[in-house]
């Protein structure tokens, strides 16, 4: 699997979680996968076997660590046995857009 597909697959996996509002590249927009012609913001995936970093904005409600653990487990189904660093950069209320 090329790194292009990996970052996209991780982004899809993360966004499929019901508590994830959106991916977030962090305060300076640095957390991203830099690909030819575009980038996947909020996911840093170097390649297979490398540690993965994701930044997410979550919907508030319930325990954030539980959501993060769930997210990490889902991402590790895609990436395999690598560390997945999760940063919760912000939260939104359930009613907000």
């Amino acid at each position: 699997m090329s790194s292009t597909e990996l970052a996209d697959t991780i982004a899809e996996t993360v966004l499929a979680h019901p508590a994830v509002h959106r991916l977030d590249p962090g305060p300076f927009g640095a957390l991203a996968s830099y690909l030819p012609g575009r980038r996947v913001e909020g996911v840093r995936a170097g390649g297979p076997g490398e540690a993965v970093e994701i930044g997410v904005v979550l919907t508030l409600g319930g325990s954030l660590p539980e959501v993060v653990d769930d997210l990490r487990a889902r991402v590790r189904l895609v990436t395999g046995d690598v560390p997945v660093d999760v940063t919760v950069t912000d939260v939104v209320l359930a009613g907000d857009g």
Binding site: L58, L64, P65, R76, D85, V86, V88
Partner: protein
């Protein structure tokens, strides 16, 4: 890398890696699978919402930040004002919170502060897993119920006309 043989562990049966998801683990437990960071704006919002839930808290923030907050609410994309009056310091495992609140006249400030502190600590610890080491509350104004002139103009429910 964590695959070295368990040399000095006192129990030989204990696995090196704990079975995940037994408890909603503290943030620091996740070492080999990756770490979790929670941004301070997350803690700020949760603390702001939890403090406002307590009846008797009229508003939050000092005079200046409330004025800017009222202005900012009218600007599209200017950000939410739910974190107005909340300052936080967030570390890896702990958080410290400072609150500026305006109480309603007639509330017992001591009891109110205690209730706010308890609710904020419960909400932040339950939702983020961070240990809240302190919640400093400063009451910097009191809201009188019948002063029209000094009232915040954002009291939206007083939309009735003065004349009948």
């Amino acid at each position: 890398m964590a695959q070295s043989s368990p040399t000095k562990t006192e129990s030989t049966t204990a696995p090196v890696q704990r079975v995940a998801s037994t408890t909603p683990a503290r943030l620091a437990d996740e070492t080999s699978q990756g770490k979790t960071s929670i941004a301070s704006s997350v803690v700020q919002k949760i603390a702001g919402i939890a403090a406002r839930e307590i009846s008797g808290v009229h508003a939050m923030g000092g005079g200046v930040s409330r004025a800017f907050g009222a202005l900012r609410e009218r600007i599209p994309g200017g950000g939410t004002s739910v974190s107005t009056g909340v300052a936080v310091e967030v570390g890896e495992k702990q958080a410290a919170i400072d609150l500026d609140i305006v109480v309603e006249y007639g509330a017992s400030i001591v009891d109110l502060a205690r209730a706010v502190r308890r609710n904020v600590i419960t909400a932040v610890e339950r939702m983020t897993g961070l240990e809240v080491i302190e919640v400093n509350i400063s009451v910097n104004d009191i809201h009188l119920p019948d002063t029209n002139g000094d009232d915040d103009s954002s009291a939206g429910d007083s939309g009735k006309s003065r004349v009948e």
